[in-house]
């Protein structure tokens, strides 16, 4: 296999552009110079973060494992039983609370869990006071890959926010996700990259677009400037991606272009094909990480308040959490189905060899929801699952139970530090912590 050296590819590009009156200059790109695709010296593989998110919580009585400890000391609970095949890579954290005022059902929990901050008053569902953990990490560890982050999900438009109403919507179509990740501009290892002269031309377009955004920013309110800035960031990000296309293609050993998924996954019996879609989305996200196209992936399985119909259920999920009497056998079955899909995601990452282990060993996937017990919208004893050891920084095959009413922010701070970031604190007010959850850290 031959790979054209970078310098000569650039020369080709210059040749193609020769004769044109205007050069395509991107001075701002210099700030990224030297960052390339090199990984931190203490890591053979990049560290990645994954999120698996579902709506409407769990049934804590059937969720919390009865014993704590490592390995054979603890067994999976009824609701976690579908994770048996990945128990060795799993850590279950129970007993932590989202320590924010529970003012908005299905909102306080997710905002408190993922941003660490106090949710907005009222019902402003998109009024996230700050970035969600995935976007926060993407801003810090996503800057050297083709995509800063990828948001997808079988049954949700996602809740990845930069701030109030600044959302990165989740891609629901496996086919569209495939096109975005592995369509034009993706090269397999060993593939002769074709330097397309239009990349540089597209960057010149985006430069002109950015100039218009900069002009407009001087004429609008402070809030609107922020909104334009988000747009501008997106434009710059796309420019950067086009520049990265000219860089070395991925050469991680397991990187392959996956098979294209089906164009459509129609509902069966009036139910969305959540499990199959999630399986395909998970495999695409895993391969995108294996090819180092992205290091932060969010898999939004279902939304807060999701009223999706599941196989075997006689009502939508959210309605069941409130209207199903007794021990909520149907809610229980739905949680089991969701955990099956979480297991599918973990297995997709574990199926990819990387170094002496697997891709999963070099990342951590956080699984969480918007409430614990849906019936009462509780945000105490919050559902938190971790998969993968983040390059040996987390214990696995463990159930940790906090009895002290500690904040869920501890888990987030542990994750942040496991990603190689030395952050002093996470969260605000009662939800603020300055220490991670030491029981999960090695």
């Amino acid at each position: 296999m031959s790979r054209t050296p970078r310098t000569s590819r650039r020369a080709v590009l210059r040749g193609l552009l020769a004769g044109s009156a205007v050069t395509v200059g991107l001075p701002w790109l210099e700030t990224f110079a030297g960052r390339g695709n090199a990984w931190a010296v203490d890591d053979a593989f990049p560290r990645r973060f994954g999120l698996f998110y579902w709506g409407n919580g769990n049934l804590p009585d059937r969720w919390i494992p009865s014993q704590t400890g490592f390995g054979d000391d603890w067994a999976l609970s009824e609701q976690l039983a579908p994770l048996a095949s990945v128990k060795e890579q799993l850590t279950v954290v129970t007993g932590l609370d989202v320590k924010v005022p529970n003012v908005g059902p299905h909102l306080s929990g997710i905002v408190g869990m993922l941003t660490g901050m106090t949710p907005p008053d009222g019902e402003d569902d998109g009024g996230y006071p700050g970035p969600t953990l995935d976007r926060w990490l993407a801003q810090r560890i996503g800057g050297t890959t083709r995509f800063r982050s990828i948001e997808a999900g079988a049954g949700s438009d996602g809740r990845s926010y930069e701030g109030a109403h600044q959302q990165s919507p989740a891609e629901n179509s496996p086919y569209a996700l495939y096109q975005r990740l592995f369509g034009a501009g993706f090269f397999e290892p060993g593939e002769e990259p074709i330097i397309d002269p239009t990349w540089a031309l597209r960057r010149s377009v985006l430069d002109a677009v950015a100039a218009d955004a900069d002009r407009m920013k001087t004429r609008v309110s402070a809030d609107d400037r922020q909104r334009l800035q988000q747009h501008l960031d997106g434009v710059r990000e796309l420019e950067l991606r086009l520049a990265r296309l000219e860089d070395d293609p991925p050469d991680l050993a397991s990187c392959r272009r996956p098979d294209a998924p089906l164009a459509d996954y129609p509902d069966l019996d009036g139910r969305p094909q959540l499990r199959e879609k999630n399986r395909v989305i998970s495999q695409l996200l895993a391969m995108a990480c294996a090819c180092d196209q992205v290091r932060v992936v969010s898999n939004w399985f279902s939304s807060p308040v999701s009223d999706l119909l599941y196989p075997g259920a006689t009502m939508g999920h959210h309605q069941l959490t409130h209207d199903e009497p007794g021990d909520q056998a149907q809610v229980h079955q739905i949680v089991i189905q969701i955990m099956q899909s979480f297991a599918d995601m973990i297995e997709a990452f574990r199926a990819i060899p990387e170094g002496d282990g697997t891709l999963l060993d070099h990342m951590v996937i956080l699984g969480t929801s918007d409430v614990s017990l849906g019936r009462t919208h509780s945000i105490e004893d919050y559902p938190i699952l971790l998969a993968g050891s983040a390059g040996g920084r987390f214990h696995t095959n463990q159930h940790v139970r906090s009895s002290g009413g500690e904040s869920v922010s501890k888990v987030n701070l542990s994750i942040i530090r496991a990603m190689g970031l030395s952050e002093p604190a996470w969260g605000t007010n009662d939800n603020r912590v300055t220490d991670g959850l030491t029981a999960i850290e090695t």
Binding site: L17, G19, S20, A21, V22, N102, V103, G104, P105, G122, E123, D124, G126, F147, R148, H165, Q166, Q167, S173, A176, R180, T198, L201, R202, S204, V205, L206, A208, V209, A211, D212, A213, M216, R219, V220, S221, D223, Q226, R227, L228, H231, G234, E237, L238, G270, D307, L308, L309, T314, M315, G316, Q319, H322, E324, P325, G326, R375, T376, H377, S378
Partner: protein, 548 residues
């Protein structure tokens, strides 16, 4: 959910003319209302908004500019804030994925347009001398950018577009291939994707929208797309900023067929009809459910609204009482009536003794505000309170057990089971507002089919709303239509949709006037829109807000 409580209080204090709701389209009985009221209250303009085009507005604008091009279905999604996409437009931005989608769409559409001989001829008024021809590029790009950006293009901006075109034309060896890049630049620019309306301060110190900004406000409000040449001309020659000029354009635009699209888009937003194509119902419970039913229901409601507002120019309150509706065979079978046409939609008259009347007898209400397998008195009641009466229903408090009893012999109907809502004080505070209203529609199942029993027990649809008793859904429609809160709410919603933000306290007098004027007009939506447009709310603005 819909705006500030302070303003609600202010509005509630204002009495409105009220009276009997006329029968369908029968406006002859309206007595002489006297001279039209004029606005002499206090007014402080609210802040400017920077609205992102909705996905539909983007599509309409692209077709205005480039002809009948194929556009991708996936675009940055619209998001409702405070219950309205119109408000979400002013609050949301464009995500990374959205930037990619707009980029792809811009290039695809520009290529298609230049490949079509007729469209190309309308876009390129000159013969290019070679792959790079800056003069010809400018001749093509200046009018194109002016239409897309709804404003004159500055010389440095035009130069940037010409430069991009020249570079690309040189590299690719073709003028048209280069022009694709220039057009795509115009179409990805914030000047196209956002509505920049910042105004200019007059000699009297008042900040007013400029002529071209007014043109944009008018055309997106009334047509859901870009200004046409006549509107732009009246903006550029100064006519549009005069009272008479603005009124003339408003009248012209309301009379144009495009007004139907634009005005119906506002109601699509207000009544959340855009949710209908995604309608999810369990086909094992509802044998009439189909993949097309939700979209057909949306079409029904929009056709009814178009008929009421444009064909009839009738009392808007009849939306809740009319027996006239537009049906296709599928909808007719769900409603259990004879289809008015063998295929497609046609106007039908529902039986006089039917409980099914107006919007509240439609799938657009009955199925959308229900659960996937059952009805929901709470959701239906909440829609009426919030979307029809502009009342605010708080979310349930946290930590409360929200389950209701299982259906059994002691509680066969939803009404029986919901009693627990009303017995628990922490639930009753809100469910007393929603449930009794919603229970009026229990004779329609979760899809909107007629039924008289639930679990073998006869359904009781009677109740009272804020002290006025009703016997069932049809009577409730009459009660709601006669409630001044209903037309007041439409004024509030259309004003909010026009402004792209919830009204501020300084606009309370103006809203009260518009409500009074709406009543004076016999509750005609076209009159209301013209009144909003003529008002200072449409023409004046506050300075941009800085962060504290």
């Amino acid at each position: 959910m819909r705006g500030s409580l302070i303003l609600y209080a202010a509005l509630a204090a204002v009495g409105c003319a009220t009276g009997e709701v006329p029968d369908d389209g029968d406006t002859d009985t309206v007595v002489d209302p006297g001279p039209e009221p004029t606005f002499d209250g206090a007014f402080t303009p609210g802040p400017a908004t920077l609205r992102r085009l909705t996905a539909d507005q983007y599509r309409h604008a692209m077709r205005d500019l480039l002809g009948d091009v194929v556009l991708p279905s996936a675009l940055e999604p619209d998001v409702a804030v405070d219950g309205l996409i119109a408000v979400g437009q002013s609050r949301t931005s464009i995500s990374q994925r959205g930037v990619e989608q707009y980029e792809t769409a811009a290039f695809d559409a520009a290529r298609q347009a230049l490949a079509d001989a007729t469209t190309r001829a309308s876009l390129v008024p000159c013969e290019a001398a070679g792959p790079v021809d800056d003069v010809c590029a400018a001749d093509a790009l200046e009018p194109f950018a002016q239409r897309a950006w709804r404003r004159p293009v500055a010389s440095d901006e035009l130069q940037r577009l010409v430069d991009v075109t020249a570079t690309a034309g040189g590299v690719l060896g073709s003028f048209d291939d280069g022009l694709v890049y220039g057009l795509a630049t115009v179409l990805q620019s914030p000047s196209f994707l956002f509505r920049e309306e910042v105004g200019v301060r007059g000699d009297d110190g008042v900040l007013r929208y400029t002529g071209v900004e007014l043109a944009s406000r008018l055309s997106f409000l009334l047509w859901d797309t870009l200004p046409d040449d006549a509107l732009m001309a009246s903006a550029l020659d100064g006519t549009l900023t005069t009272d008479d000029g603005l009124a003339a354009q408003t009248a012209r635009m309301l009379a144009d067929p495009r007004a139907r699209d634009g005005v119906l888009a506002r109601f699509d937003d207000v009544y959340q009809l855009y949710e209908l194509p995604k309608l999810s119902k369990d086909p094992f419970v509802f044998e009439h459910m189909s993949a097309t039913l939700g979209s057909a229901a949306r079409e029904q409601t929009l056709r009814d609204l178009g008929w009421l507002i444009f064909d009839q120019d009738a009392d808007f309150r009849t939306l809740l009482t009319t027996r006239s509706t537009h049906l296709d065979p599928e909808l007719a079978s769900v409603y259990g009536v004879q289809a008015p046409s063998r295929d497609g939609f046609a106007l039908a008259e529902l039986p006089a003794d039917d409980e099914r009347r107006g919007l509240l007898g439609q799938i657009s209400f009955l199925a959308l505000h229900a659960h996937p397998t059952t009805t929901s008195a709470t959701r239906r009641g909440r829609f009426i309170r919030e979307a029809l009466l502009c009342q605010e229903i708080p979310d349930p408090p946290a930590g409360v057990n929200t389950s209701i009893p299982e259906a059994d012999a002691s509680a066969p109907t939803l009404r029986d089971r919901l009693k627990s809502h009303l017995e628990n004080p922490s639930c009753a505070a809100c469910h007393l507002i929603t449930d009794p209203v919603g229970l009026a529609f229990e004779q329609f199942d979760g899809l909107g089919r007629w039924r008289t029993t639930e679990a073998g027990t006869t359904i009781d649809p009677s109740g009272d709303v804020d002290g006025t008793a009703f016997g069932g859904a049809a009577e409730l429609g009459e009660v709601l239509a006669a409630d001044p809160a209903m037309p007041d709410c439409v004024v509030w919603e259309l004003y909010t949709a026009t402004m792209g933000r919830t009204p501020e306290i300084g606009e309370a007098d103006l809203l009260a006037f518009l409500q009074k004027d709406f009543a004076w007009s016999g509750y005609r939506i076209q009159h209301l829109l013209a009144a909003i447009i003529a008002s200072p709310g449409f023409r004046e603005l506050g300075a941009p807000e800085e962060s504290p």
